[in-house]
Symmetry: C2
Subunit: 583 residues, 2 copies
């Protein structure tokens, strides 16, 4: 695809996956890494790698010698040498030495972003024990002490529990080049990969949520199960963050964020100037992976489509555990039986405890199916607790299938999944009529929300709700209304989504008023109207609508219909044996 | 994942992609191929490859020496040696030498399958010119002369046009070891990948359609745009074909088939005992690729999920052309700007005319979007005709976008795409009422079918139609009916799909009879009812239903709603300037 040779500082798993992408495009990559058979070098066509530390000046110069572009898979590199190479003009450095240097020092990174108006957790520079103690007074406890340099995967962080803990924390982190950060009460940790071309054009991947265990990322869910408008806001924060970086910030960046407990404030945690663990899911779940887009960016080729090509995806990190390689094999072997799972092992020679040995991605037709699938693997992780293993093992053996294959259609917990259906009604007096819709959706494992939206009493709210619905992630809206029932039709006029209308029976006219008000819509704006007071059918219609494109729910609907048949057949039997007189 | 070392006979692009999959699972692969830097060896961690022909006995023995399992990426290998190794018991051969030998000889292959009851095009063994002449008399013209051995990519085939052409054909193919085959008038060529474990368990990938140019596969569409029930039948034929192969037929098989002009007969064309060009789409479009599943099969690991994880996918072969590497680069460069496209180049040193240099996969949210995307690349192929280039270039520049990005939402031709919506009505007298639904769907580029299904006059047909609808690929059904309008509700009772009911106004009761018959469904079976005679809204609802899970159609609906607003605003202007008296 391109004759330019790329040199990568660092040859671990990120380099390996960059090379996998480069191989597909016939792009030559040269690696600088002290390990002779490092993960990246193993699968490389190029033989002239440099087996030296990526902090060594001479080694970096040796790497640059036969490359056109230098890039990094780790930020802890020798920036002075990169800067010298950059200045010599012989080789492009992407991202630039200046960008890497800025990001290397987490305190400078924060200062830079704060100056440009980005929202961050409160922080102060902390060079002395006195300042650290004061931080506790200002921020309250717990607060976090962090190393400015060299920190990753939780190393270099210390959560200070109370005043008596300050000294220990300060000392354990070396007591120098630190900063203190106020603890953010967050709902979820979010992350976004953003790719940037030399000209400054940025494209963003979807917003994902990351789940940490012992300060190491264990799980990534894509898309993040949060309101779609908050997702949009987080994506904007990430794009703004990468856009405000200095000229020369070319390549892909991982932006980690906190979603504050208030449900909408998004705070930037930190940036990685490279491919990132939270973007591994993109290989199976997005049109163009983070690895390929990093290559495209540093070669100044058009950036690839970053959108999700599957409805839901997850990434599970596989770490070395107490049992060495068998800690790694257990989750991998489990995943061979999980539909949608793909194994990525990094070819590392030793499975030390806590070392990232590989990851498993999982794709699914819905967030519900995704949870069921990931549960089958997470319980096998070396670092899963005994309780977790037992809980997941119990849940996963509840419905053993007859043919030995994995049954991933067991009903699961949808509490933490973003709603697919919105049930709205004009007044709380409609709740008794609409409640059965909620019960049906719950029964089918369809995540939903239920609220009051009145066309006549809260017209502004109706406009906002309907206009935002598809952006928020809803696939259908069920609207119940009585009398001059305007809600379903007005909502339908404001959303491109299918709207299901439930005519609620009032005191006069037997509900015919509501029925006609809902069903007789003018050409151009349809409302899917069901029978008077029949919220059950509205919910079943919503399940059918989702099921039209999602096998998990289509199969569940076919099962429901079969269950109805069986239940009537039982009544037929009962009537036959009991006789109509005694029935 | 597995300590067994796999030896592959052949180190071309298929071997390369097998190694890509093996790298991800940390599985060691050793390659036998005469080219020292063959595509497969380039990305392999293993260095002890054998640089000899895969027909050489000593080379195969040398390969086997440090392997646990031998497999092939090409069927034209030395079966005698494989058999000897198999018999020695030292190394497993998968698929077995017997299977490869059977498939190598296309005539024996046919005999074997015909004896086991599979449907094939008529054929006869053809060792002499006399038999060849006779074949023309029996089969008619054109018929096909084929080499029994060594044929691929159309080489070894000769289409005999008429009696005077027999001699030329016979001689050009060497006049020996031939067979003659009756020409099958087919609608489409289909292909299915099937993986088989040592125990005999088989799993099938989706049915795809292949488009050939000059006897070489140019394009693959997944899933095949044919009726879903015919797809099911073709999948069964493929599974039966692979299942009936002898014991030891382990690994993945490509089964090529013809869909006869009658629209439902599926005939087996031939089998490949290996990964296959028609399965390349699986890397981006299925949960587990054909390459990984071949590895899993030969290692006797559980087979991975073969289902499509995206709604639609295509694969475009990139061949060497008259302009060498620039023939290869042109379509690749074009694809960098096509959302959903992924490039796979094979690292071949020379771009000879007609040589497979790489392929491009494309994924999309719908068959419609897929056609629009592939069109942008196909016109850049070296072997595309001038007319085709001009046609596609014209079509693709019809809607130039302002920001330079590719607009893939231009309205395309849906004639060849399987229907997503079925419009049915009880009688042709309903057609004037239902016609606007068809027009709306056409306008939105939603592929649909329209037919007569009467609940009361063709109850059997109604049962069949409704029961099969979701298997056939429909996502929604629009049913129009008048009077005691039973059709929508009865259909809804027989399908898990959303059913949209259009009450058709009769001579009495103003359509209220139809409305109530359709909308007042009992709990358990919903019909999405629209206004009396409002087939437009039924179609718009169908678009919204499909759009709920498909951005292409959701965006189109948002656009439609905005167009309505603009059109009313024009009337407001007109009314304002003209005045109500003259309006």
């Amino acid at each position: 695809m391109d004759r330019q040779v790329i040199g990568i500082l660092g040859g671990g798993q990120l380099g390996r996956m960059l090379i996998e992408a480069a191989n597909r495009m016939n792009i030559q990559v040269r690696v600088l890494d002290p390990t002779e058979k490092s993960p990246a070098k193993q699968i490389s066509n190029f033989t002239q790698h440099v087996n030296e530390p990526f902090t060594s000046s001479t080694a970096i110069r040796a790497l640059a010698k036969e490359c056109d572009v230098l890039t990094v898979e780790i930020e802890h590199v020798n920036c002075d040498e990169l800067e010298a190479i950059e200045e010599s003009g012989a080789v492009k450095v992407r991202p630039s030495a200046g960008t890497i240097r800025l990001i290397q020092d987490k305190y400078l990174q924060k200062e830079y972003l704060a100056e440009r108006g980005l929202s961050l957790p409160e922080y102060i520079k902390c060079d002395t024990l006195e300042v650290a103690r004061n931080a506790g007074r200002v921020f309250g406890y717990p607060f976090v002490l962090k190393c400015r340099l060299g920190a990753y995967d939780g190393r270099g962080n210390y959560v200070v529990k109370d005043e008596s803990d300050v000294d220990a924390g300060f000392k354990s982190l070396g007591g120098d080049m630190l900063y203190a950060e106020k603890f953010v009460p967050f709902i979820k940790e979010l992350a976004v990969m953003v790719a940037r071309r030399p000209g400054g054009q940025v494209v963003s991947y979807p917003v994902v949520e990351t789940v940490q265990r012992d300060n190491i990322c264990e799980l990534v869910y894509a898309p993040a199960q949060i309101d779609g408008q908050v997702r949009e806001a987080a994506m904007k924060v990430a794009m703004d963050t990468v856009s405000c970086l200095p000229d020369g910030s070319t390549g892909i960046f991982g932006v980690e964020m906190f979603l504050h407990k208030d449900g909408h404030t998004v705070l930037v945690n930190e940036i990685a100037p490279r491919t990132h663990n939270s973007g591994h899911y993109t290989t199976e779940a997005c049109s163009t992976s983070q690895f390929e887009n990093h290559l495209r960016a540093v070669l100044d080729l058009p950036l690839g489509d970053t959108s999700l090509k599957v409805p839901a995806a997850a990434m599970i990190n596989v770490l070395g555990g107490a049992n060495g390689f068998s800690s790694v094999l257990d989750p991998c072997l489990a995943s061979l039986n999980v539909p949608g799972a793909t194994i990525h092992l990094y070819g590392k020679a030793e499975a030390k405890v806590g070392r990232k040995m590989g990851h498993i991605t999982v794709v699914a037709d819905s967030a519900l199916q995704l949870r069921r699938r990931t549960d089958l693997i997470v319980g096998k992780l070396a670092n899963a607790s005994q309780e977790e293993r037992e809980r997941l093992a119990y849940r996963n053996t509840q419905k053993p299938s007859t043919d030995g294959s994995v049954d991933d259609n067991e009903k699961g917990d949808v509490a933490d999944i973003s709603p697919l259906v919105g049930i709205i009604m004009g007044s709380d007096s409609d709740l008794p009529t609409m409640r059965p819709a909620a019960e049906i959706l719950e029964q089918f494992g369809v995540p939903f929300e239920l609220t009051i939206v009145s066309a006549h009493r809260t017209p502004d709210r109706m406009f906002e709700y309907a206009r935002a619905a598809h952006k928020r992630g809803l696939k259908a809206i069920i609207a119940g209304a009585g009398g001059a029932a305007h809600l379903p039709g007005m909502v339908a006029a404001l959303t491109p989504l299918p709207v299901i209308g439930v005519p609620v029976k009032g005191r006069c006219l037997d509900g015919v008023d509501s029925l006609h008000s809902i069903v007789q819509m003018p050409r151009g704006v349809p409302v899917a109207t069901v029978a008077i007071n029949n919220a059950v059918n509205a919910a079943l219609l919503a399940v059918r609508i989702i099921g039209a494109s999602c096998p998990t729910y289509l199969d569940a609907m076919a099962q429901y219909m079969d269950d109805m048949r069986v239940s009537v057949e039982k009544k037929i039997d009962h009537l036959g044996t009991t006789g109509w007189k005694d029935y």
